[in-house]
């Protein structure tokens, strides 16, 4: 059982973070990217060709993370692999002791820099979750036996701010029924939509069935804010938020303040099991934000059994 699974089972507050993309540089590069946020983060997401741009594969990065002593969450999308390849990646993860997986449908190839690529989507996100559960039951999708059966902590993503808004909690519930035990929610720049999702999830009992982890993105520049507002599928940034950064004397501080406000708001919602941080390049923003939010470092939380309910 992974440390992340144990913490979620014990309802301890968790901090996950997206490792910036890796394009070579060996373990030293993974270490360099980890270092500033490492004291605060329980597990790091190894992304799978985010925004449909090719990088080092999630399995290779997840293995690298383990080799430098950090806990990985291996993301897997349905965009680039058919079901055989997805099963092979999951079994490969298990072979290396990687249990935390996050199953996504994936951005379309047209979001990336190789839009001429063939999109696969042989499975969709909920089906991928199910296939991971099938493997856990000791068989491949075909029914052929897998011995020993792998064990996973299966997670997924849901987007609280993409239409149809009134269906998102039901879609999250479908993922829970398929076998997901945590959801890292998509970055949400509209706090009222996150609040709506969290309240509905809480009222329907969903937050009892799986851990809900809102995502907070730390940007630094006007260009970064514009990029997220215009080029990342499924993220809707209010024009006034973009204007706030554009008009700020110090855009970096303004971006940080926005992240802080969104994170404080997220922490005030019912049923929040932790936070997921995204910072597209190596910086100390995640550690600084945790400190400002009053989230203790991982070692301190581990010794005190910091519970999700007292995180605010």
């Amino acid at each position: 059982m992974s440390a992340l699974e144990r913490k979620l089972d014990a309802h301890e507050f968790v901090v996950t973070a997206e490792l910036p993309v890796i394009d070579g540089g060996g373990h030293a590069e993974i270490q360099r990217q980890l270092e500033p946020m490492r004291p605060f983060v329980d597990a790091f997401n190894a992304t799978d060709n985010p925004s449909a741009h090719a990088h080092v594969s999630p399995l290779a990065v997840a293995i690298g993370l383990m080799q430098v002593g950090a806990e990985p969450v291996m993301q897997l999308t349905c965009r680039d692999r058919n079901r055989l390849a997805l099963e092979a990646e999951l079994m490969g993860a298990s072979l290396h002791g990687i249990e935390n997986i996050c199953c996504l449908t994936g951005d379309d190839v047209t979001a990336g820099d190789e839009p001429e690529a063939r999109r696969v989507f042989d499975l969709d996100g909920p089906q991928l979750i199910s296939v991971a559960r099938v493997l856990e039951s000791g068989q491949y999708l075909s029914g052929r036996a897998v011995t020993p059966a792998p064990h996973f902590l299966i997670g997924a993503v849901e987007n609280p701010s993409a239409p149809p808004l009134e269906y998102r909690v039901r879609r999250a519930a479908k993922k829970a029924a398929a076998g997901a035990r945590f959801l890292q929610l998509q970055i949400c720049y509209r706090p009222e939509l996150l609040a709506r999702f969290m309240h509905e999830a809480h009222a329907s009992g969903l937050s009892e069935r799986l851990a809900l982890i809102p995502s907070i993105c730390i940007l630094r520049t006007v260009g970064g804010m514009r990029f997220v507002a215009t080029s990342v599928p499924g993220i809707d940034v209010p024009p006034e938020t973009v204007a706030r950064v554009e008009q700020a004397a110090d855009p970096e501080t303004e971006c940080f303040d926005i992240a802080y406000e969104l994170a404080s708001h997220a922490l005030s919602q019912p049923g929040v099991a932790g936070l997921h941080f995204i910072s597209f390049r190596q910086d100390a923003g995640i550690a600084k934000l945790c400190q400002r939010l009053g989230i203790p470092p991982r070692a301190e939380r581990e010794s005190n059994g910091h519970s999700a309910s007292v995180a605010v």
Partner: protein
């Protein structure tokens, strides 16, 4: 027999093509997706909208097109029968059935055949499948 099946597939496509933009996946789920063909989603998703739907309800891949699953959801809400089937977990597409008649596959039960691994883990899945909140 083969010729008859091919002829029926042509008839099916002639009927369902103009109405639903039928893609002849051979395993029709229109009744559980608000009579909206999920195979017209550019990602051919069978289990609901992806996270890339634009704020205006349009498709991530084709900005000029309304999200197929947004339509499926809205129409499902209006359906007196099967409306909650949108919440059921649909199995992966059987790519062997592409181009065949879903009518024949419905009658023979071929469209309900799923891989053994999926079948074997089905009970736990189905008990939690109706997840309407």
């Amino acid at each position: 027999m083969k010729a008859a099946a091919a002829a029926l597939a042509r008839v099916e496509h002639a009927v369902k093509g103009p109405v639903w933009d039928c893609q002849m996946c051979g395993q029709c789920v229109l009744h559980s997706t608000g009579l909206t063909c999920p195979m017209t989603c550019p990602k051919t998703l069978r289990n609901g909208p992806c996270g890339g739907v634009r704020a205006n309800g349009h498709c991530e891949v084709k900005p000029e097109m309304r999200c197929v699953w947004l339509k499926a959801y809205e129409r499902s809400e209006r359906m007196p029968l099967w409306g909650n089937h949108i919440d059921h977990l649909r199995p992966p597409v059987d790519n062997q059935l592409k181009g065949t008649s879903s009518w024949i596959n419905l009658v023979t039960g071929r469209d309900r055949q799923v891989p053994a691994g999926w079948e074997n883990t089905r009970p736990s899945r189905e008990s939690g499948a109706d997840v309407r909140t």
